[in-house]
């Protein structure tokens, strides 16, 4: 690990001012915020990230980890721990998919460390990015190429990829947030602003070293999730190579509002498939106004994976993605949601 300066921030506004070197969404910015550290410290040990300065946020945790319901909006503090959100009664009742996505992520220890803000900001990354001995990685060394295109790409993305990077977004919570219209509250050196979660992550577009639309020094202070009948009937299904403590090779977040046997609203997010947290409007449209049957579910799954582009070892993914989505739709259909409080 390279040497760095360390400053423990004493307030959010001080943190935002101190961190004017975080760049604009660059993965390799010279200044990095340190919250839970589960991803940052790991990548620094591997010499993939080489920040000159860390701004510590752990002292701000207690003031920014609230979980509350405000009318029809579930508010989750940006510093809330994954474990705390996964077990919170309000989350379990109003949006079970959020709780499930967190409980199925990482390990119990990591969930006690990682914050929601840090979780959604984990890098879209692959084994070639993590191993600095591979010269070709456009995300690590812009312009150097992509070793994964013709490499061992079994768990690489098939949606939203281009020739510059085929890494997949490895998170679970982000997939649920993308599907369910979560909003972000941001605090930066020049004040606060709000953006939709789906506007946070960018596609590779020949510059995969830039992953988000965050401006210099911006911190995610809160997530706001509209909740109601739709989110109470929500599930997150995760398929992995082993039963626990593993990234998805395929996952699906689904929320349904069904009336008289007909889908009024469907929301679909896909994980283990895409370069960024993926919402499938195509899949949603295929279900809207239709009865929920095996045929309509299959049609939605076909639509959701229609634009898939595979690279050899991940040729299996479109079919696995379709089946994962159908299973999630079936589980959402079968579930008994919590009653409205």
């Amino acid at each position: 690990m390279r040497p760095f300066d360390f400053t423990q921030a004493e307030s959010l506004s001080q943190a935002a001012m101190l961190a004017s070197g975080t760049g604009q969404g660059q993965t390799d910015a010279a200044t990095q915020f340190l919250a839970g550290g589960t991803s940052l410290i790991d990548l620094m040990k591997l010499d993939v990230l080489r920040p000159r300065r860390l701004v510590g946020l752990s002292g701000l945790r207690d003031a920014n980890e609230r979980i509350e319901l405000n009318g029809r909006e579930l508010r989750l503090g940006g510093f809330a721990k994954m474990a705390a959100v996964a077990r919170h009664p309000l989350v379990l009742a109003h949006c079970p998919a959020v709780a499930q996505s967190l409980a199925l992520a990482a390990s119990a220890q990591l969930r006690n460390m990682a914050t929601l803000g840090g979780n959604v900001l984990q890098k879209t990354r692959c084994t070639y990015y993590r191993d600095a001995t591979w010269a070709a990685c456009n995300k690590r060394s812009p312009g150097s190429g992509c070793a994964a295109l013709a490499g061992f790409n079994r768990n690489h993305a098939i949606l939203g990829v281009d020739g510059s990077c085929i890494a997949q977004y490895p998170g679970d919570l982000g997939v649920v947030f993308a599907a369910l219209d979560a909003q972000l509250d941001l605090l930066g050196p020049s004040g606060t602003r709000q953006i939709p979660f789906t506007a946070l992550h960018t596609l590779a577009m020949n510059r995969p070293h830039i992953e988000t639309t965050l401006r210099e020094g911006e911190i995610i202070t809160q997530f706001r999730l509209p909740v109601g009948a739709l989110t109470r009937r929500s599930v997150y299904v995760k398929v992995r190579d082993r039963a626990s403590y593993e990234f998805a090779i395929s996952s699906a977040a689904v929320a349904l509002e069904v009336e008289g046997g007909v889908v009024r609203q469907a929301r679909i997010g896909l994980g283990g498939m895409a370069y960024k947290p993926w919402r499938s409007l195509e899949g949603e449209q295929a279900l809207s106004g239709k009865p929920l049957t095996e045929a309509t579910m299959a049609a939605a799954a076909t639509a959701a994976l229609a634009s898939a582009k595979t690279h050899g070892f991940n040729d299996y993914k479109p079919e696995l993605g379709r089946r994962t989505l159908v299973r999630a739709l079936q589980e959402a259909q079968a579930m008994t949601p919590a009653r409205e409080a």
Partner: protein, 200 residues
């Protein structure tokens, strides 16, 4: 005469090796040397750590993890270094009462926060903690290297209320790998101890 234990032999050996090459602990010295030159940040910080109810003031390279601080600077070698990248759970300790990975936690970031390690689980001369007793009773280890992490994780698993069934124990202990594969006996040990632990 000092009682000879494995720990005193290892610690003394490390100190002698260090004396021959450097004036300080190996890790800190190497890290400081690496930080010199080309305008590198001054990398040593005075750090206050609260471990097992005792306060320690130590000068540490800022890059030092809680794991290395415990093992290399406080001579608390019960916490083990396995993968050193958050994948095996051997380094599990409790910070602010919650199980976390000390290998991914910088010491400078947790100053003054309560840290509990395997050494603090039971009093030095007192009876073993029920979870330690259960691991022995159930023969829940072979080589023993992952065991301190397993026990710290297991204590937290019970306190969190995640030890209600075998499946739940396996799921919530999945962050602790055991290459000897003592898993069935670890589950048995947690079941033995779960009724004896006070809730959080």
């Amino acid at each position: 005469m000092t009682k000879l234990t494995r720990r005193t032999v290892i610690t003394a050996g490390a100190a002698m090796a260090g004396a021959g090459l450097h004036s300080g602990p190996l890790f800190a010295r190497d890290a400081a040397a690496e930080g010199e030159g080309e305008g590198a940040p001054n990398n040593v910080a005075r750090v206050r750590l609260m471990v097992n109810g005792r306060e320690h003031q130590v000068s540490l390279d800022r890059r030092t993890t809680v794991l290395d601080a415990l093992r290399e600077h406080l001579q608390l070698t019960g916490t083990k270094k396995g993968c050193d990248q958050g994948q095996c759970g051997a380094c599990t300790v409790h910070i602010r009462g919650e199980r976390v990975l000390s290998c991914l936690t910088l010491a400078v970031a947790v100053q003054g926060q309560r840290i509990d390690t395997i050494e603090g689980l039971s009093p030095p001369q007192g009876p073993l903690h029920p979870m330690q007793r259960a691991f022995i009773d159930q023969d829940a280890f072979q080589c023993g290297y992952c065991t301190p992490g397993q026990i710290m994780s297991a204590v937290a698993c019970v306190r969190e209320g995640h030890a209600r069934s075998d499946d739940e124990i396996r799921e919530y202990m999945s962050g602790n790998l055991c290459r000897c594969a003592a898993y069935p006996k670890i589950v048995a040990a947690i079941k033995q101890a779960r009724g004896l632990l006070e809730p959080a």
